[in-house]
């Protein structure tokens, strides 16, 4: 299922330069704050709270940091392809270079979970991940993210 309802064209960072997990979360929170008008600090807090429970690195170089924010009006997605893969404490130990940030309003409930599952399952398909890694600019990445997936 395409993610066009979750991610806007301007919410794609094609070559984010970061040195580690902490900095990656910081940069993503900053960009998300810019786009949503929320406080960067609040966003970073919920993301870090979730990471404390266990890394959101789902394996194969992909991470999906996520959290719920009371002040958010609708679900918000932000995608970043990292310039250089970083250690994200992922379960399989592989460095991460594809990051999808998903924020949901406090009231989202089951929709939040469904959206997360959708993002995880889309990024986990090998073809999608390869295409995202091969894409050079934001437009190409956005096209891959919103591309209708065969079979669904």
């Amino acid at each position: 299922m395409p993610l066009s309802d979750l991610v806007a064209p301007q919410a794609v960072m094609p070559a984010l330069k970061v040195n580690g997990k902490k900095q990656a979360l910081l940069e993503l929170a900053a960009r998300a704050a810019e786009l949503t008008g929320l406080e960067e600090r609040d966003i970073l807090d919920v993301l870090q709270q979730r990471e404390k429970l266990g890394s959101t690195g789902i394996g194969n170089g992909i991470a999906i940091p996520h959290g719920k924010l009371a002040k958010l009006e609708r679900m918000f997605g932000l995608f970043a392809r990292l310039d250089r893969a970083i250690d994200f404490e992922a379960l399989d130990g592989q460095p991460v270079d594809l990051v999808f940030l998903l924020l949901a309003p406090e009231s989202a409930g089951a929709d939040h979970l469904k959206a997360l599952a959708r993002v995880a399952r889309l990024l986990r398909t090998a073809d999608t991940a390869t295409m995202l890694r091969d894409s050079r600019d934001a437009e190409a990445i956005y096209a891959v993210l919103t591309m209708p997936v065969p079979g669904t």
């Binding site: 709270q49 429970l53 999906i64 130990g93 989202a108 997360l116 599952a117 669904t152």
Partner: protein
């Protein structure tokens, strides 16, 4: 000259017997029979009544050999017990090792009283003689192939068997004393009990500290560390007995102290004691077998079998259920733990004490004890694996641990060299992962020794040596387990995200907005699996939790280490069909509309 010839003959016969005993262990391994049984049988065959015809009825020698052997075995048992494992099961195993032993003895006594017509004190003596479980037999059978238990169950059983001997020995000696010297008042008995235990504990703890202190401060010749420790252990044993404490308790505690402090030459000591306990067991069993008189055993066979049966089916289970009542074990686990009440060397050894001190009917105690141990080893020993399977408490086997070479580095205690062969599909080779506290030092490749720098990339078939803290060395094992790479992850099976098994339900509920009852908020996911499954978890187990599902993603020894979260049910497959149907309906409507317009 006759004397010399006699001695030579004794050496020849004795060593030949030990040799045959050792070789017969091959047979035991093949058939999974308890080795002790084989040694015992061998001793009986060699004895007066068997074809060997060796006349031996020196109870004093048997007692001396037995004491030394038991001292070493108990010390070794303590040395190998990691306090970290010990602590988590301290309460249940101590309850079994103390109250359990006394209850077992008490529950067995009535049968002895009625079947043998002995007095109550004498019957209680029979109960005490066979009240303790045998560490060697329990260790051997729990580790025999095809049997892996929940760590809590296995650790409780092992520690129980390692620590209950002092109590049984103590009870036996006390009862013998009462029979010999006439009645004592109960307060006196209780006082003697406390004094003995306290004496043993103080000497044992102090002795253990002293042994590790000397070991680390005095520079002995390389080969002398292990003999020093063994001799010191026996000194601790003797000293405690001499001042009236329990030597067996002391020597076990000393082993525990030495084994859990950083000491020099730990590995050589363990290896040496391993050999020493083998020899001790073989010799002890041979001698105890020699002491037995099979034809006489038959005279007491019926009451002995009655005692054995009561012990296995009534006394031990009753004691286990009573002692473990306050702790969290399932009924099936308690049944199994009742069945692992293997008797062994200590039982026969204790049964020889009445002979030694020439109690009236001394022979009866020995014969009964002997038969009970025999029956227990035969019946329970052989049925443990099926019992575990029938009770569904045996876990699926995990990969065998890789062989690890440990080398002491003289001059310090913090680090040692740990060596492994690099298998083709070890995680180390596949992912080049090592923990931060381990440092690659040497690589042996094609019989050439290279430094880590010279060797560059590690290849299959290399032997690597890493510098690591000794207490963490075993944690390196999993990096060198030769296991196939995990199959490509199936998202449906794995879940969308992963959290550690120790994460609490509360944390999960907060982030994902799940409804969890308030008393469960602090519970870990791993515990939740245990509680809701009612059995050890297996990989792939699924627990629904509100709108999401928890999947046992990685499981170590029945406990979920990593949990997959399946956040939403997979999209229903027939989505395409629905779309086709919708398209058909649209086409139908359009065509009918066209038709109508006409």
């Amino acid at each position: 000259m006759d004397q010399i010839a006699n001695v030579s003959l004794a050496v020849l016969l004795g060593s030949a017997m030990v040799l045959a005993g050792i070789l017969s262990s091959l047979m035991a391994m093949r058939f999974g029979a308890p080795l002790l049984l084989v040694f015992l049988g061998f001793g009986m065959l060699a004895g007066e009544a068997g074809p060997g015809g060796v006349p031996f009825d020196n109870v004093e020698v048997a007692y001396l050999v037995g004491s030394v052997a038991l001292g070493l075995i108990l010390f070794d048992g303590g040395l190998r017990t990691r306090l970290s494992t010990f602590r988590t099961v301290l309460a249940p195993s101590m309850s079994l090792a103390t109250a359990g032993v006394m209850l077992t003895a008490a529950f067995t006594a009535p049968v002895a009283h009625f079947a043998l017509g002995l007095g109550w004190i004498e019957s209680l003596l029979i109960g005490s003689v066979i009240a303790s479980t045998d560490a060697a037999a329990v260790f051997f059978l729990l580790h025999a192939h095809g049997l892996r238990l929940r760590p809590r169950v296995a650790a409780t059983l092992e520690i129980e068997s390692g620590t209950n001997d002092p109590i049984a020995i103590f009870l036996t000696l006390l009862l013998v004393e009462i029979i010999l010297l006439g009645g004592k008042s109960w307060p006196d008995i209780a006082l003697a009990f406390v004094a003995k235990a306290a004496g043993g504990a103080v000497i044992g703890w102090g002795g253990g500290r002293a042994i590790s202190f000397v070991l680390n401060r005095v520079s002995l010749a390389q080969g002398l560390h292990a003999p020093f420790v063994s001799a010191a252990a026996l000194v601790v044993f003797g000293l405690a007995e001499f001042i009236g404490g329990s030597g067996f308790l002391a020597v076990y505690l000393a082993g525990l102290v030495v084994g859990n402090r950083p000491t020099r030459a730990h590995n050589t000591v363990v290896t040496f004691l391993d050999a020493a306990t083998w020899i001790a067991q073989i010799v002890m069993f041979l001698i105890l077998g020699l002491l037995a008189w099979p034809s006489r055993l038959i005279d007491h066979a019926v009451p002995a079998l009655a005692v054995a049966l009561t012990l296995m089916v009534v006394a031990r289970p009753a004691a286990v259920f009573l002692c473990l009542w306050p702790f969290r074990f399932s009924t099936r686990e308690k049944l199994f733990m009742s069945w692992v009440g293997l008797r062994g060397a200590v039982g026969i050894f204790l049964a020889s004490i009445p002979l030694l001190v020439e109690l009236p009917n001394g022979q009866v105690y020995f014969d009964i004890g002997f038969v009970v141990v025999l029956v227990s080893l035969l019946v329970q020993g052989w049925t443990i694996a099926p019992a575990a399977r029938r009770l569904h408490i045996s876990l699926p086997r995990s990969d065998p641990p890789p062989r690890r070479v440990e080398l002491d580095l003289p001059g310090q205690l913090e680090q040692e060299l740990v060596g492994y062969a690099v298998g083709p599909s070890s995680p180390y080779l596949r992912r080049h992962l090592v923990p931060s506290w381990a440092k690659l030092m040497l690589v042996v490749r094609d019989e050439e020794v290279l430094t880590a720098g010279e060797a560059q990339a590690i290849r299959e078939g290399d032997h690597v040596y890493l510098l690591a803290p000794p207490e963490k060395a075993h944690a390196l094992d999993r990096f060198f387990v030769d296991m196939p790479a995990p199959a490509s992850p199936d998202p449906q099976l794995l879940g969308d995200f992963f959290v550690p098994g120790e994460a609490t339900l509360g944390a999960l509920a907060e982030i994902y907005g799940l409804s969890v009852s308030p008393e469960d908020l602090g519970m870990s996911l791993a515990d939740q699996f245990v509680r809701r499954l009612g059995r050890p978890a297996r990989q792939g187990d699924v627990l629904p939790l509100g709108t999401i599902a928890l999947l046992a993603h990685r499981v170590t020894e029945g406990r979920v280490v990593s949990v997959g979260l399946r956040l939403a049910e997979p999209d229903p497959l027939p989505a395409t069909i629905e779309r086709w149907k919708a398209a058909l309906r649209r086409a139908w409507r359009r065509s009918t509309a066209v038709l109508r317009r006409r």
